[in-house]
Symmetry: C2
Subunit: 453 residues, 2 copies
């Protein structure tokens, strides 16, 4: 039995929903179908979820949401019309939305979640109706009825452990189950959504709860690329990678799958298969527990800009027990999260995303580190990029570091920082932002260009 | 004006004291002479300081210290005899020691400091007597009289800032000043010693207080070596290095000079010259603020065994603000100091010296990290060696990392860890202990073998 999830672009139009139907019925093991809200039909289009957020916001500001509401209804209507569905389904959706928009607004965050969740919920009903029209037994199942319970954190709900056992009984239902992604219910019966792109999470939770053999995640790319296609033209596709590799690559928002979404599948050891709705015969990318390390030590390269480094030096620092802990406590008091802390004998640097600073915060932090920790020198360096070189094969591969650093030297890139040694499947280089592209190209050339696909 | 300090082996016998005399009088700028207690004459010999510690310990245990006391007196007597000094000086020393051994023992640590400090104190008197016998104006100066005041921390005294101004007036005294190293006086007039090898600290404090042009530190080696001579046969000597390089090299207890000792000279910008009492014409090693970066990017390689790594992994760790701080707080609660904390996206390793663990502590720490931080995995890896590659020239030298890691790969050494990016003058590699020697040899070969001396 397989859990299959379709993203917003896979359900953006009637034509796309037809593809989804063909994909589902082509494999009788595809029993559970998790759907997102309709996404963009073209780069200029709006996602239904964004329109719903706008509706909710207008209501909260006591403004008239009618225009936005019409746009939402028109999206569903366009799909229904393309699929020759009866008007009834659109009336149901309109009624549902009107009810939601008149709900209690005393807690704005909860109200927002209730409205946002309708995008998936109504789309699941629509998709189920289309499957039935095609003569296939298909049922919309509501998360409350199925037992998908979550914590009461608006926009960031966490699945409650007891859900998994309850969801298992979905196996006994007949026909194909069409399940809305993105939200669950609190114990009090209220709607709470996962973080954005949370339909991936719903699919992963269902795969875990139902003990599926596979979690198929259909999106609009053929595969996970080995490197950002904006940096390298048509880079190599990754056929298979481990959960750990996927997680390390996600460092820079690089992957097609929501980070948290891997957790439930990972804990249950269920492989995740990323495939393309628009090209279902492409092999896609499979995320697994273990894999053969053929084709070289490196599987992918991720990179991102926008980091800075807070350099702190103090003579005899390494004799001072508690220095590092007190330094981190200062950052924590500003709610800052950091990435790495490379250190010398008398100095330490904290690498963090620079967009976390609010005006004046930088100066205040420098000042506090100087005075409270009696530091000799505190300097902030901006505009750094981090590059992650990822692969299970590097674990005990002597010479990978040498190859990587030699490639960077040849490309005339100065390595500002190296972090290697904790994760066995990645190696991190810090470079100046202006060197990022050249650095990634050099590393790709070194580890991929010569490798057979 | 120069401050000159002589170590224990430079004063271990009459013949050595004669060398010291020749060195001092050969340069009229050598006005302040700081002396250690007599050291070892041969590898099997005992240092006077060790004998004194044993004396004090016996007294504290209400045992008879006479035998050890005799050995101490015999050491001074042998030197005095070799130098044809009168018996008077030995009687003075005996009387001084007997007075100290009958002092108040209610605070054993203070009593220990009082006895230990006699090694330097009495040796300064003896050396001054010899200088005078040679017809040179020389005066023993007591630290209390000179104004060298310290905190009341037995065995770990810290100089009080007001001392520097007081010491400046020593410049006005006539003749050569023979000053005992290793100790000062509290504001209450009691003796407190610096940490072990603290005569280096005394010399550095005097150099700062007197605004000396140079602090000469005479010991028994020709120079600081670029690498441990037990690993490489007759390694290249370092002619000049910066304070920062010296400090990074001292990482592994590699240097000939006490770590803390550099601080006062460093703060006053006074160069430190390490020279050999037994070969005073050798150029020695000069520690300076800045130097020319000729002869390649690397100036030295230090290494040490006996480290371990505590590996902690937790899925989505990098989203958890405060994780690192709480992890370090656990280690701090055991008084453990750590060296580095390389990190991946979902994992962090803490590198520390494994001799800090007491029985049972390891298991307890692993358990606390697992439960208190809800970690997925906690593993301690033992028997690691750290290798520091040091040089101001690496700061912006593209390719140094590539050369180092390539050399290690060629020597078939797996790099367990790299820490580079905070200190601009060093790069650290972690390897398995069994690979340490091969790794250092490979790095030496790469950075030194081809470089002209």
């Amino acid at each position: 039995m397989k859990v299959v999830k379709f993203g917003g672009s896979s359900l953006a139009s009637g034509k796309q929903v037809e593809k989804v139907f063909q994909i589902v019925v082509s494999d009788p093991k595809r029993k559970i179908v998790v759907v997102s809200a309709p996404g963009k039909r073209s780069p200029e289009d709006e996602k239904v979820t964004d329109l719903l957020i706008e509706c909710a916001r207008l209501c909260l500001q006591n403004k008239n949401p009618q225009e936005k509401l019409n746009t939402v209804i028109e999206r569903y209507a366009a799909i229904a019309q393309e699929l020759n569905l009866s008007e009834e389904i659109i009336n149901d959706i309109l009624q549902d939305l009107q009810t939601r928009l008149t709900a209690d607004k005393r807690n704005p965050d909860k109200f927002m979640d209730l409205v946002k969740a309708s995008g998936e919920d109504n789309n699941a009903k629509l998709v189920a109706a289309f499957f039935r029209q095609q003569g296939v037994e298909a049922h919309y199942v509501n998360p409350k009825e199925a037992g998908l319970f979550v914590s009461d954190e608006p926009g960031n709900a966490q699945v409650l452990p007891e859900s998994y056992d309850k969801l298992f009984s979905l196996r006994e239902r007949s026909g194909i189950i069409i399940f809305p992604g993105f939200f669950g219910y609190s114990k009090e019966g209220e709607v709470f959504t996962f973080s954005r792109s949370g339909s991936d999470i719903t699919g992963s939770i269902l795969a875990n709860g139902l003990k599926a053999e596979l979690y198929e995640n259909f999106t609009d790319v053929d595969a996970v690329y080995s490197v950002n296609p904006f940096i390298i033209n048509s880079p190599k596709e990754i056929k298979e990678l481990t959960y750990r590799e996927m997680r390390e690559l996600s460092y820079a928002g690089f992957t097609v799958l929501h980070d948290e979404a891997l957790v439930p599948a990972f804990r249950a050891g269920i492989p995740v298969h990323i495939k393309n709705t628009n090209n279902p015969n492409a092999p896609g990318t499979k995320i697994v527990y273990e894999r053969d390390n053929t084709n070289g030590p490196v599987i992918g390269i991720a990179s991102d800009k926008g980091f800075c480094s807070i350099y702190v030096s103090k003579y005899l620092m390494n004799r001072e027990i508690g220095f590092g802990r007190r330094l981190l406590a200062i950052l924590e008091s500003y709610g800052l999260s950091y990435e790495h802390t490379p250190s010398g004998i008398d100095d330490i640097s904290i690498i963090l995303r620079e967009n976390q600073f609010t005006p004046g915060m930088e100066e205040e932090i420098v000042d506090r580190i100087k005075t409270e920790l009696d530091s000799d020198e505190v300097v902030i360096e901006h505009s750094l990029a981090l590059i992650m070189v990822v692969g299970e094969g590097m674990r005990h591969n002597i010479g990978t570091t040498a190859r990587a650093s030699k490639a960077l030297a040849k490309a005339n890139v100065n390595i500002e920082m190296i972090n290697q040694g904790s994760s066995e499947v990645s190696m991190m280089f810090g470079v100046k932002e202006i060197d990022e592209k050249r650095a990634v190209q050099a590393l790709y050339e070194e580890f991929f260009a010569a490798v057979a696909v």
